[in-house]
């Protein structure tokens, strides 16, 4: 992760009404800054996973984690270090591009592995998923064409698998089968 103040917390919570509010309101009342936040149910419907990027300029990360852990609905908190995690983010961007620029944008999107999901007379919309840094670079490039609208999901992540771990071999086996 580029900004050293940013820390990614992967928070497993009970999938119950109001849990996201509890997390968000805790951050608000303790003065912690959320840089980005993504939430969805896990494979176990009783649980959801919240990926929070915390900006820890104001308070130490361990204090943020300890306060978060006091919420009754928070089941587990893992800090994911960038070099030990697979991170991904999705970006949708509508770029102003007339006939003359269209080809360049399509080509750049192709270089980054993006998809053109919509095309209009003077603009087109690109979807790009991948590591957040790549999205940052792509966003910078698109800026020179003129960004009409942009939406990023915020990063999600899971721990990297180690080659010798059981989970990794299981995944590899599944892949080869």
């Amino acid at each position: 992760m580029s900004d050293p103040r940013h820390h990614l917390l992967s928070v497993l919570v009970e999938n119950k009404a109001g849990v996201l509010t509890r997390v968000a309101s805790l951050f608000a009342r303790r003065g912690y800054n959320i840089f980005s936040l993504a939430v969805a149910p896990t494979d176990d419907p009783r649980l959801s996973r919240i990926s929070i990027v915390v900006d820890v300029e104001s308070s130490p990360l361990e204090q943020v984690i300890a306060q978060l852990d006091k919420l009754i609905n928070v089941v587990e908190i893992t800090e994911l270090h960038p070099d030990e995690a697979r991170e991904a983010e999705l970006l949708l961007v509508t770029v102003s591009a007339g006939a003359d620029a269209r080809a360049q944008v399509i080509q750049l999107a192709g270089v980054f592995g993006g998809q053109i999901v919509d095309v209009g007379r003077d603009a087109l919309t690109v979807m790009l998923a991948g590591a957040p840094e790549g999205l940052d670079d792509f966003e910078d490039l698109m800026g020179s064409y003129g960004i009409v609208e942009l939406q990023r999901t915020g990063r999600v992540a899971l721990p990297k698998l180690r080659a010798d771990s059981g989970a990794a071999s299981a995944a590899l086996t599944a892949e080869s089968a």
Binding site: R22, S25, K70
Partner: protein, 589 residues
Amino acid sequence: MQLTGAQALVKSLETQGVEVMFGLPGGCILPVYDPIIESPIRHILVRHEQGAGHMAEGYAHVTGRPGVAIVTSGPGATNIVTPLCDAYMDSIPIVVITGQVPTGAIGTDAFQEADTTGITMGVTKHNWLVTDAADIPRVIAEAFHVATTGRPGPVLVDVPKDVSLQTMEWYWPDSLDLPGYRPPSHPDAKAIADAAELITAARRPVIYAGGGILKSHASAALRELAEMTGIPVVTTLMARGAFPDSHPLCLGMPGMHGNYTAVTAMQQADLLIALGSRFDDRVTGKVSAFAPHAKVIHVDIDKAEIGKVRRPEIGIVADCRLATEALVSALTPRAAAGELEPARLADWIAQLRHWQERFPLAYDDAVETDATGSSAGGHPPLLKPQFVLETLRDNTPAGTILASGVGQHQMWASQYWHFERPNTWVNSGGLGTMGFAVPAAIGAKVGRPDAMVWAVDGDGCFQMTAQELVTASAERIPVKIAILNNAYLGMVRQWQHMFYEERYSEVYLSPDLPDYVGWAESMGCVGLRVEHPEEVLPAIDKANQIDDRPVVVDFRTDSMEQVFPMVPAGASNDDIVVHPSQRDRLAAS
């Protein structure tokens, strides 16, 4: 067995062993009030929902059991937000039941609708909105478990009216499903061993005992630790009574209005053993200047308290009693090996005794004044609030429970009372809620009918919740209220005196508007008025003899009196301001 949600709620409370609840009915909680008629649970009808919350707190303070309050939706719920916040700050276990508009009406701005779980999210340990009557026993069991385990605190259960009216098949859960709630209990053995090492090596140690000692029933363990090691103990505002004031190792209260020795001992310490205390700003003063030479051992059941304010050398996340007992066990062989001989702390103890002799609590004797306030004589002496408290302290039975409001009277009460037993001091420490005393004293008396309960209140505080004395009279709860009536919002006045060049802004209240004696009598209490020192003892004796109704004594005290010592807000504890009569001594020492 088929029950309505309302019946299931009351039966759940009975199953939890609730003996009393404090409440006031209204539209959305009406269904629950019907089965209350048949229930063995005593219901005390309050005059304002804030009173119900503080009564539940007072009950919990003195019994260690969770206090229960029940109120309606909307304004009933919002009126109890202050007690919830108070209990949250002071880690008091209370369970509040609120009515809610029917589930179909939630979100429509219905009559008496409020987003109760949303509003109280930040002031409860947890809260629940029940949407199915079948959930009621499970939620009530969870609510009591969460309120009373780990770091105790307030919880709230919001019950929509239609849920109270639904029917359900009665059950009682045999286990709880709270996968994210695992309160700590036993301390880490390595941390205890390291702590024992630091304790043995220290030469200027202080035990900094907080409210966690009382919550975890660790008073006996604390005494054992102190006596085995010879280490002196300060008891914070929330821990008064956790260690007997009469004990030679007790230094009393530290902090903004703590005594000189307690404050300075912490400043000069080489080791602070913080047991269930949280380095509150009222204790530390300016944090960067607090106890600069001290290593810190911090025991708390709440992991988030470790390092929140001051980073400890050793942090121990555990139940305070279990950790204190573990420290005693770890130190026992060291004591046997002669490593804890009193001589090692002789210089330190001598220094503390020296400070105690030079800087005891002090106030000016009452002087006769004339009409202009000069001391030329003629008028009887003004009543000193400290003198009232000393007289009350010395003329009430051992084990008397003392409740207090918030302000000067609270600080004098904590300073001048001699607390000898746990759970005999009921006050609002963290939130500083004016108006706490009267309802909290009532709740305390309900929980401990065998004990004498006095509340020390200010005239400003009294006016905020006095109507609960109607509740006390109606329910025959004979509490005794000592109003230290100085006709001012005294603590604010003191700050304006010291920090705003005596520009008194909106602090004058008048000594006789209202007429406190007349007001007390109109509420079914005995009202007494005391204006002169010689009347103090007879009034207290008379109040002590009345056991069939509440008593209110209006003590007309000296408006000018200030609380000393004082560490100005934001200042270092080294800059403690002692009583004027001791200031030259401070310069000399």
